[in-house]
Assembly symmetry: C2
Homo-oligomer: 340 residues x 2
C-alpha cells in the first residue's frame, strides 16, 4: 500500500491556475461565487482540466459488523446492519432517495456480514490478511466511468471504532472522541469511552503505525473506504467524504503521507461530537452543516449537488467580453468595458 | 398592504406534527437527518400537507437601478445593471446555469431600468405610487404552478440601499451595516457608510414606518421582492431568500407583523458584512455558508437543491415496519423490532 502512495501524482497546479483565470473572466465580480469557485479550481487541479465538465457521480456505501457492539456501545443491535443492507437493496433507505435525487449510481458493498470483526477491546479486530482483503474490496469497488466518488458506511458500533482510530492518530482518548452515534444514552456513552480507552491500551504497540492500527481497530467497511479512497487518488477521481466514520476511515492515509487526501472533500460536518475536531486535524473544511448524523453517504449525496452546481455554473457562463458587460471601473472613475 | 397581512393564515401546526410523526417512523435514527427533517416539517406546516411532494421551483430575479450609485458607492458603474439583464436574457449569467442545474424556471423582472430611483441621500428614492407599482409588479411576478419560490436581485448600488433599510429597522448606522458589495475599495466603503448615515438623517421622519422607509430608501427590485414575498405567503408558497439585499428587502415585513416571514427560508449567509447580523435579527438560520456574494438568487438556487433533496428523501423512505428493521432496543438491552 505504501508503494501505491509513491505512484500517486500531485495535483496539477497549472490546471488550477488556468481554471482561476477562466473564472476571473466570467460575468460576475471576481471570486464572488466563493467556494463554488475554489471547489472548481480544486477539481480542475485534480482532474488536470481547465474547466472540468459536470461530473458523473457514484456513491459507494460499505457495510460491516463489529465485535465491539457486544460492549453495549450502540443504541441499536448488530442485526440492524444486515437489515439496513436489505433495506438498501430494496430501495427504502435515505441514501436510495438521495442517490436518485443526485442522479448518482449507488453501489452497496456488504463485507462479511456473517463474520463480525473481533471486539477491539479484547483482540485485533482484523488480521492483516483480513484487513488487506477489505481494503482490496474497496479498491475494486470504484465504478468505472465515475468521475466523482461519494463514500459512506453502515455498521452498528462503527462510531466507536472510528473514535478509537482518530484517538490513536491524534491523541485525546475516549473522553475527547466518543460521541452519541445513532443516539446512545449516557450509560452507553460511558461504555463507549471506556471501550475506546481499552482499545488504545490493548493495541499500544501498533499505534505508531497508521495501517497496523487501522487493522487492529478494524471495521471492514472502514478498510474498504480507505481502499476506495486510494483507488480514486490513483485514478484522479475527486472523493466526497461523508461523516465522522467515513472521515476517520481515511485519516490513517493522511498520517502516511501528507498529500494523500488532496483529492478528498468534506461534504458536511455532522452532529457527531468528534467530527468537527477530526476535520480540523485533517485541514478539511466541510461544505455543509446540517446537523445530520445518519451516515450512509447521506451528507456526501447532498454535497455532490453543490459540486455539480459549481461545475455547471462555470462551464456555461459568458465572459465579460462575450456578454459586453463592463468590467472594473478605471482609476479616475470612468469605466472600461472588457468588451471594448 | 397591511390589510393583506391580516388575511394571511398561520402555519398549519397539525400538518407539522403529522410530518414529524411520519419522519420518526422512517428507517433512520430519529432526527438523524437534522435540518433535512426540520425543513420538511417547516414546509409541511406551510403548505398544509403531511409529506409535501418534491416542489417545482421557480426563481424570480428583480433588477433595477439606483440614484445613489452617483455617490460612488459601488465598484461597478450603473450601466452594468442593464448589461447584466441582457446577459440574463441571453443565458450567460451564473443564475442561468444555476437555475437550469436546479431544474427551476427563471423569470427576470427588470423594473424601469431607464429611470433610476432618486438618490436616497438627497430625496425619497421612490414616491408612494412608484413604490406600490414595484411591489405590485413583484406580487404579480410569482409564476403560476410554482410551489417553491426563490428570490434574488441585480442592481448596481443596491447593497447601499439594503444597508440603509436594515440600519433604519435595526439600528447601528453605516458603520455597522455597510459592506463591500461587489468589491468596493476602502474609499468607496467610506462613501457608502456616509451615504447610509446621510439617508438615515434625511428620512428621519419616516424611519418608524417600515413601508414608508422602504419607499423612501427605494430599490424597485427590493420593493418587487417584498411584493413577491407577500404573494407567496398568501398562496402558501415557501420562499427561499438569497443574500443580503434580498433579505433586507423583506425585513420591513417582519417589522409589520412578527410571523409574516414564517414561510421564508434563508438560503445562505453571504460574504457581505451585514448579512449574518441581519439573519440573526430576523431569526433566520441559513442553509449554506459558501462565502458567496453575487446576488442574482445564486445562493437560493443552491439551497433549493437541498430542499428538494429533503422532500425527495422523506417521501421515498421505508418505515421500520415496512423494512423489517429493528427499532430502539428495549430498556433491558434486548431488542424489539418495530415490524414484530
Amino acid at each position: 500500500m505504501r508503494e501505491l502512495l509513491d505512484r500517486i501524482g500531485p495535483p496539477d497546479e497549472t490546471a488550477r491556475a488556468a481554471c482561476r483565470r477562466a473564472l476571473d473572466g466570467k460575468t460576475k465580480p471576481r471570486r464572488s461565487l466563493g467556494r463554488l469557485e475554489t471547489l472548481a479550481e480544486q477539481i480542475a487541479a485534480l482532474v488536470s482540466l481547465r474547466l472540468p465538465p459536470v461530473p458523473e457521480a457514484a456513491i459507494v456505501v460499505a457495510a460491516a459488523d463489529h465485535g465491539v457492539a457486544a460492549e453495549g456501545v450502540s443504541a441499536y443491535p448488530s442485526e440492524v446492519t444486515a437489515q439496513m443492507v436489505a433495506n438498501f437493496a430494496r430501495g427504502g433507505a435515505a441514501i436510495n432517495q438521495l442517490a436518485r435525487n443526485a442522479g448518482a449510481n449507488l453501489r452497496i458493498v456488504p463485507l462479511a456480514l456473517d463474520r463480525p470483526t473481533a471486539d477491539l477491546t479484547q483482540a485485533p479486530a482484523l488480521s492483516e490478511p483480513e484487513f488487506l482483503a477489505a481494503v482490496t474490496e474497496g479498491y475494486n469497488a470504484v465504478p468505472p466511468e465515475c468521475d466523482l466518488l461519494c463514500l459512506g458506511e453502515m455498521g452498528i458500533g462503527n462510531t466507536t471504532v472510528a473514535a478509537a482510530i482518530v484517538a490513536a492518530l491524534f491523541g485525546g482518548g475516549g473522553a475527547r472522541w466518543a460521541g452519541r452515534g445513532t443516539g446512545v444514552d449516557d450509560e452507553g456513552l460511558a461504555r463507549k469511552r471506556q471501550a475506546i480507552d481499552d482499545a488504545l491500551a490493548r493495541h499500544a504497540a501498533v499505534l505508531h503505525d497508521p495501517l497496523a492500527l487501522a487493522a487492529a481497530f478494524g471495521g471492514r467497511e472502514l478498510a474498504a473506504i480507505l481502499g476506495a479512497t486510494l483507488a480514486a487518488r490513483r485514478q484522479r477521481i475527486p472523493v466526497v467524504l461523508d461523516g465522522f466514520v467515513c472521515t476517520a476511515a481515511v485519516a490513517p492515509l493522511a498520517k502516511l503521507r501528507a498529500d494523500t487526501l488532496a483529492h478528498a472533500l468534506a461534504s458536511h460536518v455532522s452532529a457527531e461530537a468528534g467530527h468537527p475536531m477530526l476535520l480540523d486535524e485533517l485541514h478539511l473544511r466541510p461544505l455543509l452543516a446540517l446537523d445530520m448524523r445518519l451516515g450512509e453517504a447521506s451528507g456526501a449525496a447532498l454535497a455532490v449537488l453543490l459540486l455539480r452546481a459549481a461545475l455547471a455554473c462555470h462551464s456555461g457562463m459568458a465572459t465579460f467580453a462575450e456578454a459586453g458587460v463592463s468590467d472594473k471601473p478605471s482609476a479616475d472613475g470612468a469605466t472600461t468595458a472588457a468588451a471594448s
